[in-house]
């Protein structure tokens, strides 16, 4: 009788630990920068095949969990960054410069989001930039991300909030090379200064 009870207990324990382990693994993998289907290039992350008919299950699951729709490869590429060039998480108290060259694309948009994916606001407008809006300033960064007003293509951040940068390039030649994207072909997010705490 006692033997039978302990067998049932062992079976239940096996089932429970298998279930917990499996779900835990799914949660961990989908949140990881190293999930299958994820391409990393410096601070940027992208899912180049997520919007293709033959998308891999991990890229599909990552987008389903996050709640956004991937771009189809023919539309272009979406690059996500939650950290700067040095690998430090983006901080609303700091000023960053987007430096380098913008890859060739028919159009691009640069948008700042909260961690949950809502666009940061600046006077009722999204804190973002399109290729048509951006002023081309020689020897100046492509954009300045800062809580304080800045000269040039300024994107306002919120002082007490971490944020995520999304660069979308529509109809870009980069799509073909997306699987092994070289970070040298992308703009970099460089931290310039940080306001002290408080």
């Amino acid at each position: 009788m006692l033997d039978r009870l302990s067998s049932i207990a062992a079976l239940l324990l096996t089932a429970f630990s298998g279930l917990a382990l499996g779900l835990g693994l799914t949660g961990h993998v989908l949140a990881s920068r190293h999930a299958p289907g994820t391409v990393r290039a410096g601070e940027w992350q992208l899912w180049p095949r997520a919007g293709a008919p033959d998308a891999d299950p991990y890229s599909l699951a990552i987008h389903a969990r996050r709640g956004d729709l991937p771009l189809a490869p023919s539309e272009g590429l979406a690059l996500f960054a939650a950290q700067d060039k040095g690998g430090t998480p983006l901080d609303g108290r700091c000023t960053y410069a987007l430096e380098g060259q913008m890859p060739t694309a028919r159009a691009w948009t640069l948008v700042l989001y909260t961690a949950k994916g809502m666009p940061l606001q600046r006077g009722g407008q999204p804190s973002g930039l399109t290729s048509s809006m951006a002023a081309v300033l020689p020897d100046r960064p492509l954009a300045v991300l800062s809580p304080e007003i800045a000269a040039g293509n300024w994107l306002q951040t919120t002082r007490d909030q971490p944020f995520i940068v999304v660069l979308r390039m529509y109809e870009t030649a980069l799509t073909a090379a997306a699987q092994g994207l070289d970070v040298d072909r992308l703009p970099r997010i460089v931290r310039k200064s940080c306001a002290s705490h408080g």
Partner: protein, 203 residues
């Protein structure tokens, strides 16, 4: 004593292996099923409130446009994470089990795209306005069987003007996106989307 301990350990091996096997199975199943089960997934969100074979311009109250205030029965992307605020979009829910779907989309000067997705969020087709001819994208979404039937009816000496797209599932969503590169382009881009047609077409 040592033997007894070893015996106890060996007795647990099948349970540990069983747990690991089950964990692998649960992991694989949960990854595969997530797109179907996630209520917050984009396809599920856009489907809510969408009427079959009707094109609705998706509202974006977060962009501060008076015209984009939420309306009852019209899907909103305001709460859809990581959507591009510089894109105006329109959504059309389709069901081609009875008849194919006609899509006629006027294109303009700025980037536009048409994306067909299944209910599980898999992109079946993505096209941009580059594929337009005479400033219009003319498409017919149909089941493979319907396409075969149409091809049998085609006149031999007349080239087919429309793009026929076979869809793997009879139900899904068409998402139309139009870039609004400057705030002042909002009205014209919106007018372009409003002229797009999405309706069932009798065979």
């Amino acid at each position: 004593m040592g033997d007894a301990r070893r015996g106890g350990f060996i007795r647990h091996v099948p349970f540990v292996l069983g747990a690991l096997l089950l964990a692998g199975l649960v992991h694989g199943m949960s990854v595969l099923l997530l797109p179907y089960l996630a209520l917050d997934a984009a396809a599920a969100r856009l489907s809510r409130g969408a009427v079959v074979n009707r094109l609705d311009i998706v509202t974006r109250p977060d962009v501060g446009n008076r015209l984009d205030m939420p309306q009852p029965g019209v899907p909103a992307t305001a709460d859809m994470p990581f959507s591009d605020p510089f894109m105006l979009s329109a959504v059309c829910r389709f069901d081609v089990s009875e008849e194919p779907l006609r899509l006629r989309i006027p294109t303009g000067d700025h980037f536009m795209s048409v994306v067909v997705i299944t209910d599980a969020g898999r992109v079946v087709l993505g096209l941009t306005d580059k594929a337009a001819s005479r400033r219009q994208l003319d498409m017919l979404l149909a089941t493979p069987a319907q396409i075969r039937q149409l091809e049998a009816q085609d006149a031999e000496d007349e080239p087919v003007q429309e793009l026929r797209v076979p869809v793997p599932t009879s139900r899904g969503l068409v998402l139309l996106k139009a870039l609004r590169p400057l705030a002042s382009d909002g009205e014209s881009v919106r007018a372009l989307l409003a002229r797009a047609i999405c309706r069932g077409q009798a065979m």
